[in-house]
């Protein structure tokens, strides 16, 4: 049998083998070259034009977009057969990260185009559709967009009202309705639009935005990413050729959901790039800004901020590329010419839907933390438009909202895992039951290994057990009704997110340790210890709250005593020393140096 791939959600049951985990230190020379082109282009061509882009100079924005197309930055996920590069997913994500180096508006335009606007055609398009659109989307000659949301159907994608009716001669679908918040609408040539055929059957269409009957609403006045285009799209008896139906009638929602999974994941990748950019600005400013005769980066409280920012960025980067590795392993087995390609691609993406949601939430929240502290480090200047901190702060905020709010994604995480468990794809419940028995005799400290990360390894193992126990008890107590326990589900989701984050950093650092030795890996080790030092107690706290939402009285007490056993053994690390060491390295390098 071929080697078994890591299954989505399997991290709840056991740690993956180290060799199955991809870490950014393993980027190839070619991948680094791709990254350099993307990064240099944004730094040298886009960033100097930032103010003009933000002032809605659309012509310039589109011109830069086309330049990105000429450099091949839009074609990473399009097969070679259709004028793309058909790159592996790790390369494609790395390019995505670098394109998102601190230019929020431009990054959103590109991400929307390459992700939710292009991928539906790559995955679900007919041969004719692929040949017609992909080569032009690959070069940027056509700009894409995606319209799902309506005034009364945002997170509730099934509730869309836009209607499609097949014309009498069967040649066209006639579309009527209105779409809200369509990214790229003002620039785009085509749009993946969702409608219900005869008001009932969800379907996706490739819409030419120049079609008769299509009108656009005015630009939204947004808090951030102001240079991007966000407009309503109104459809008034718009004739869409029947051959522009994407996929099957009745399955449009599946396209929407699965493409959103990738969108979510790409968003987390973009947040990684944006975090690194903000972090760089913050540390350079902290080194230049003198108060009391010394740079403010020499103050303990600023160092603490810098250390926390770089630590979270490191953890996010670890989680992002660990996930890229999983997705790439599945995609590398797929063949674009396979008639079943769309379904298989959909399954591959769906396999890691939990991880995609984790990356979306964690990425957007790490970025929000980083930009918030960036403003704080800039002080009064951070509150003015003269410095980039203010824009970073505004640009970041949308990430917690679009591609599925973080709340929706928090509901999805336990929901999807439970569904996998019910279908027997993930042995969650047997594991939880087995654990419930074992835990009586379990002595965590007896399991403590040796080496610089012994305590962190044990913390991750115990966090996994905590997650399983809480999930098992919640499922047992509420059964089907668990989906209505949103506050409990949110805590379950957060425990799972912290587990994935801690473990991703730990696995990466272990790999770096093996390869480079303790001295060279000391900052990796310190950041892993620092992250576990905040995440593990948080897991204990979340679990305590979750348990109190499941049982009361003596049952609760019994459950809490188990939780305490799993978490109380942890000894706090020397935070001040570790943060100072990490901050000093960042202060010396003046940028995210790790990779």
């Amino acid at each position: 049998m071929a080697e078994e791939k890591v299954k989505g959600g399997a991290f709840l049951l056991e740690s993956p083998k180290l060799e199955e985990v991809f870490v950014p230190e393993e980027f190839t020379e070619e991948q680094r070259m791709f990254a350099k082109t993307a990064e240099d282009f944004v730094k040298n061509e886009v960033a100097p034009k930032s103010d003009e882009i933000e002032a809605k100079n659309d012509e310039l924005h589109v011109q830069l977009f086309k330049q990105a197309g000429e450099l091949g930055l839009l074609m990473t996920d399009i097969p070679e057969k259709y004028g793309g590069l058909g790159l592996d997913k790790i390369s494609s994500m790395l390019v995505q990260e670098k394109v998102s180096s601190g230019q929020g508006s431009f990054s959103v335009t590109i991400t929307d185009h390459t992700g939710i606007a292009t991928l539906p055609i790559v995955y679900f398009g007919t041969e004719e559709q692929r040949q017609k659109y992909l080569p032009l989307l690959a070069t940027g000659e056509l700009i894409g967009s995606y319209a799902l949301t309506e005034t009364n159907a945002g997170s509730d994608a099934m509730g869309i009202k836009t209607k499609a009716v097949l014309s009498g001669d069967g040649k066209h679908y006639i579309l009527n309705g209105s779409k809200q918040f369509v990214t790229n609408a003002g620039f785009a040539d085509i749009c993946i639009v969702y409608a219900k055929v005869d008001g009932e059957h969800h379907a996706a269409f490739i819409l030419d935005l120049k079609s008769e009957g299509v009108t656009l609403g005015p630009e939204e006045h947004k808090m951030g990413i102001r240079g991007s285009s966000t407009r309503a799209v109104f459809l008034d008896n718009v004739k869409v050729p029947a051959e522009n139906l994407l996929g099957e009638v009745g399955k449009g929602h599946l396209i929407a959901f699965n493409v959103l999974n990738i969108g979510r994941y790409k968003l987390g990748v973009a947040c990684t790039g944006a975090s690194k950019a903000a972090l760089g600005e913050a540390v350079r400013y902290a080194n230049q800004r003198f108060q009391f005769g010394v740079p403010i980066s020499s103050f303990g409280m600023i160092k603490e901020k810098l250390a926390d920012m770089v630590t979270k960025t490191y953890v996010l980067e670890s989680a992002v590329y660990r996930t890229a590795g999983f997705i790439d392993a599945l995609f590398s087995q797929l063949d674009y010419d396979d008639p079943e390609f769309g379904k298989k691609a959909m399954d591959a993406v769906a396999e890691y839907a939990t991880e995609c949601s984790i990356i979306k939430i964690f990425g957007s929240e790490v970025l929000d933390f980083v930009v918030d502290e960036t403003v704080q480090i800039f002080g009064g200047y951070g509150y003015t438009e003269e410095y980039p901190a203010e824009r970073f702060y505004r640009d970041s905020r949308i990430n917690r909202i679009f591609e599925g709010t973080n709340e929706i994604n928090r509901l999805l995480i336990p929901g999807m895992l439970m569904r996998k468990a019910m279908k027997g794809e993930l042995a969650l419940l047997p594991a939880a039951q087995k654990l419930a028995k074992e835990v009586m005799t379990l002595m965590p400290l007896a399991l403590l290994g040796s080496g610089p990360l012994a305590q962190e390894e044990l913390a991750v193992e115990m966090a996994r057990k905590v997650a399983l126990i809480v999930a098992g008890l919640a499922a047992q107590k509420y059964k089907e009704a668990l989906k209505d326990q949103q506050m409990l589900l949110a805590r379950m989701a957060d425990i799972i997110i912290e587990l994935y984050a801690m473990e991703s950093a730990l696995l990466r650092t272990r790999k770096v340790l093996e390869k480079k030795g303790e001295d060279k890996a000391r900052h990796h080790v310190a950041m892993t210890q620092l992250y576990v030092a905040q995440a593990f107690p948080r897991v204990a706290q979340l679990a305590q709250e979750a348990l109190a939402a499941i049982e009361k009285g003596d049952m609760l007490k019994a459950n809490l005593s188990v939780l305490r056993k799993l978490t109380r053994w942890y000894t706090p690390v020397a935070l001040v020393d570790l943060k100072t060491m990490v901050a000093d390295k960042l202060i010396e390098e003046e940028k995210y140096w790790v990779c």
């Binding site: 070259m33 791709f34 082109t37 282009f41 091949g72 005769g293 390098e589």
Partner: protein, 264 residues
Amino acid sequence: MKVVVFCKSVPDTETRVKLKDNRLDKSEIKYILNPYDEFAVEEAVRMKEAGKVDEVVAISMGPERAREALRSALAIGADRGILIKDDVLDGSDTYVTAKVLVKALEKDGAEYGMLLFGQQAIDGDTWHVPGQVAEMLGLPQAGSIIKLEVDPDAGKAVANRLVEGGEEVHEMSLPCVVTCRKGLNEPRYPSLPNIMKAKRKPIQDYSIADLDLSPEEVGKAGSFTEVLSYSLPPKKEAGRKVEGEPEEVVQALVKFLKEEIKVI
């Protein structure tokens, strides 16, 4: 006509240089293609795109990592690479470097029309090698050019150099040597498709034995100069601001120049 571009792998411009045991601490340095060499590669590739040149060859002498610098040159558009790599080359000075590069040119065949260099490498910053190569081969040379016109049929090139207060225009017969600087062109970003193509372009490896050189002729043994020690520039101290009415400021400044740093 074949033209040859000389490429050096140098520390990234953002590198924080550290010393260890009186040597550069290279353990955490990221390397790039010398930025001045990018102007040279770009110029050569443009000549090829204009139909004036048939082949652009990139040559580098250095450790294994120099292969990445060559890969960058290939991604900009050079056709093939030559890597001269040998442990005994460690410690070579600019004279040895020039000598080895000339040997490699001979080995590859002598029918080149032009040799292009960056005017300087941002690490050693000697500016030596292009002139030494030109001298060893007896070729005309124009350094630090900002404009280049080549006429292969007439067998000549016209190069403009920026000099104080104006420009010098040099006409040279081919083959000739030029060194390139900012202002000559705007190097392109290697596109993703070209980066992928670069992977398939050939790089020929040469050891010193391949070039008919003996260990005594290269490295420290063959060199005229040796780096004795390294030191970092003194740390920049925070400036001092003199404030007040113009007369007071002038008096304070004069006092400072006379009494503190004693330059007047």
